[in-house]
C-alpha cells in the first residue's frame, strides 16, 4: 500500500474531489486549451493579469485524479505570482516529475512536491504535466492546443 499512497497522496485525492479555482473566468485576459488525445484528458485554463502579475487563474476540464489535482494545485500555486516566477515554477515542477537525477528544491515547490512520486510512473507523467503545458500556452498566448503527450 505504501507505493500506492506515495502516488495517491491525501492532498491529491482532496484536490481531485474538491478542485480549487474550478470554473470559467468570464472575460479572462487570456485562456488556452490543453488536450491529451491518447488518454482523453481535457483542460481549459483562464488567466487575468495586472501588469506581470497573475491576479486570477481558473480551469475547467475532465481527466484522471492526477491531472485534475495537478491543475487545481497549480492554479493555487501560481496565483499572485509574476509570469517570470510562474515560469520558474514550471521548470522546477517539470524537472521534479521527469528527471530523477536532478536535485529538486522540494521546499520551493511547496504543496506541489506531492507530485514527486509521479516520476516513478512514466505512463502518468503526462497526466501531471498537462495543466503545466497549458499554462505555458497561456504564457505564450498560444491559440494551439497544448499537450503533454
Amino acid at each position: 500500500m505504501s507505493d500506492l499512497r506515495e502516488l495517491y497522496q491525501q492532498v491529491i485525492l482532496d484536490h481531485n474531489k474538491h478542485p480549487r479555482n474550478f470554473g470559467e473566468l468570464d472575460g479572462a485576459d487570456r485562456h488556452a486549451d490543453g488536450y491529451n488525445p491518447l488518454c482523453g484528458d481535457r483542460l481549459v485554463l483562464y488567466m487575468n493579469l495586472e501588469g506581470n502579475v497573475i491576479t486570477e487563474v481558473s480551469f475547467v476540464g475532465s481527466g484522471c485524479a492526477i491531472s485534475k489535482a495537478s491543475a487545481s494545485l497549480m492554479t493555487d500555486a501560481v496565483k499572485g505570482k509574476t509570469l517570470a516566477e510562474a515560469r520558474r515554477l514550471f521548470d522546477e515542477f517539470h524537472s521534479m516529475i521527469t528527471n530523477s537525477e536532478t536535485q529538486v528544491n522540494l521546499e520551493s515547490l511547496g504543496k506541489l512536491a506531492v507530485f514527486a512520486g509521479v516520476r516513478d510512473y512514466p505512463t502518468r507523467i503526462k497526466c501531471a504535466s498537462l495543466a503545466w503545458h497549458t499554462l505555458r500556452a497561456v504564457f505564450e498566448n498560444s491559440q494551439e492546443l497544448a499537450s503533454s503527450e
Binding site: M1, D3, L4, L7, Y8, L13, L38, C39, G40, S62, G63, C64, A65, I66, Y121, T123, R124, C127
Partner: protein
C-alpha cells in the same frame, strides 16, 4: 439418447495451457503477472516463439526466385503458413489469403483497391457505431477521396446493433458494408450472418473486421459468405507485424493492386507493367516471412487446443467475471449484449479509468484503460474512457479474483 455427461462441453486444462506461455510466469512489481489485456494483444505460446527462432536460425532467406535450397525452404515455409491460415478460416483457396501487416493494413488495402474501382460521388459506405478507428478512418479517407458518404448504423444501450435501423441504412447507393465481428470495447458479437444476408440481397459486398473474433471463435468465411474478412496475427497468439486479408477470389481478381513494387509484378518495362496473380498481386516487397511462419504455428496451436474448449473456458470466465464485478460498489459494465465474448469493459463511479489502471497494476494486474480506439462509441455512452479486462484461453478464475481484489484497493483509495 446421449447422456448429460457426453453433452457437457469439453474442459480446457488451463494449468497445462499456462505452461506453454513463458511470460505468464514472470512477476510485475514483485507480484505474479495477471494479464487481462488480450484484446490489445495476446501472449505467445512456446510453439510460436520456437517457430520464429527456428525460422531465423535455420531457414532465413528471401523467398521466391532464389534457386538455392535455403530460399526454397523459406518459400515453402511461407506458402505453408498461407495454407494453414486458409484452412483456419476455411477459404476456398490459399490465393484468397493475403498477408498484410495487420487488420488496419488489410482494411486500408480494401478501402484503396476496392474503393478506387467501386466507390464514387454520392455512393455510401455503411459501418456501425461500435467500430474500431481502424474500421472508421480508412472509410472516411475513402469518402474524402471519392465524394462518397459514410453512414453509421446505430446501436442500443446494451451495445447491440439495431438490425431494423441497419437494414434501413442499406440502399441502392451503398457500395460496401464494413462491420466488426466482435467489438473490442464492448465484447458484443454482431449477427454478421444476418448482416451479410441483408447486404447481399442488395448486392452489397461485406467486409468483416475479425480482429477480436478470430481468437475467440472458429471462423468459416464460406459459411458466413462474407466478401472480405480481416484479422491480425498478434491477437491470435501470433507475432506482431503480420495480418491477414481474406477476400473472395472474384473481388480480389477485379481489384487493382494496393502497393506497387517487387514480387507483385509479372513483368516490368518503363512503358507497361503487368501484375502477378493472386495472392502476390497484393504482397509488394519482402513480406514478414518469419511473422507468417509464426502465425502458422499460432493457428496450429489454437487448432490443437480446440475452439470448443477455448470457447467453453472463456464463456465460464465471462459469466464468473460478470457476476463478481457486478458486486463491486459503483461499478457499471459497459457492453451487456446478450451475445457477448469475454471482454469486461466497465466504469467505476468517482474514479477515472486511468487511476483504476495504475492502482490495479500495482497489484500485478494488467488491464487496458482509455477509449480503446473507439472514441465515437465512448461518446455514444457519454464517457471519456473505460477500464477493460479481456480474457483469453490462459486466464483463470483466480486471476479474476485478483482483479476484484485490486478493484477493492481502488475503492479504498477512492471511497464512494
Amino acid at each position: 439418447m446421449a447422456s448429460p455427461i457426453q453433452d457437457s462441453p469439453p474442459e480446457l486444462d488451463v494449468i497445462r495451457i499456462r505452461q506453454d506461455f513463458p511470460i505468464l510466469h514472470r512477476t510485475v512489481r514483485d507480484k505474479p503477472l495477471v494479464y487481462l489485456d488480450s484484446a490489445a494483444t495476446t501472449q505467445k505460446p512456446k510453439p510460436v516463439l520456437d517457430a520464429l527462432a527456428h525460422y531465423y536460425a535455420y531457414q532465413n532467406a528471401n523467398i521466391h526466385r532464389g534457386v538455392y535450397v535455403l530460399s526454397a525452404e523459406a518459400t515453402a515455409a511461407y506458402d505453408d503458413a498461407r495454407e494453414k491460415v486458409q484452412h483456419f478460416v476455411n477459404a476456398r483457396s490459399s490465393q484468397e489469403v493475403i498477408f498484410t501487416r495487420n487488420s488496419t493494413e488489410s482494411i486500408n488495402l480494401v478501402a484503396h483497391s476496392f474503393g478506387r474501382e467501386n466507390v464514387g460521388p454520392g455512393d455510401e459506405v455503411l459501418i456501425t457505431h461500435m467500430e474500431h478507428h481502424a474500421n472508421i478512418v480508412p472509410w472516411q479517407l475513402l469518402c474524402e477521396r471519392s465524394g462518397a458518404r459514410l453512414r453509421v448504423a446505430p446501436i442500443n444501450d446494451q451495445g447491440e446493433l439495431l438490425m431494423d435501423e441497419f437494414a434501413q441504412c442499406l440502399n441502392a447507393r451503398t457500395k460496401l458494408v464494413a462491420i466488426v465481428h466482435l467489438s473490442n470495447s464492448l465484447g458484443t458479437i454482431n449477427p454478421v450472418s444476418e448482416v451479410i444476408q441483408l447486404a447481399h440481397q442488395q448486392d452489397v459486398p461485406v467486409l468483416i473486421d475479425g480482429s477480436q473474433a478470430a481468437y475467440h471463435m472458429p471462423i468459416d468465411v464460406q459459411a458466413l459468405g462474407c466478401d472480405f474478412y480481416v484479422f491480425t496475427g498478434h491477437k491470435l497468439y501470433g507475432p506482431t507485424g503480420i495480418g491477414v486479408l481474406y477476400g473472395c477470389e472474384r473481388l480480389l481478381d477485379s481489384m487493382p493492386p494496393f502497393l506497387g513494387g517487387g514480387d507483385m509484378i509479372r513483368s516490368v518495362t518503363f512503358d507497361k507493367t503487368t501484375y502477378a496473380d493472386l495472392p502476390a498481386k497484393f504482397e509488394a516487397g519482402t513480406p514478414h516471412i518469419a511473422g507468417a511462419v509464426g502465425l502458422g504455428a499460432a493457428v496450429d496451436y489454437i487448432t490443437e487446443v480446440g475452439f470448443d474448449k477455448i470457447s467453453n473456458h472463456e464463456a465460464q470466465l465471462l459469466e464468473y467475471g460478470t457476476a463478481v464485478l457486478s458486486e463491486i460498489p459503483g461499478l457499471q459494465l459497459i457492453g451487456t449484449a446478450r451475445n457477448k465474448a469475454s471482454i469486461l469493459s466497465f466504469v467505476l463511479k468517482g474514479v477515472h479509468p486511468h487511476d483504476i489502471g495504475t492502482i490495479v497494476d500495482m497489484e500485478g494486474v494488467s488491464i487496458r484503460t482509455g477509449h480503446h480506439c473507439t472514441q465515437p462509441l465512448m461518446d455514444r455512452f457519454g464517457i471519456p474512457a473505460t477500464a477493460r479486462a479481456s480474457i483469453a484461453m490462459y486466464n483463470t478464475r483466480q486471476e479474476i479474483d485478483q482483479l476484484v481484489h485490486a478493484l477493492h484497493r481502488v475503492r479504498e483509495v477512492f471511497p464512494l
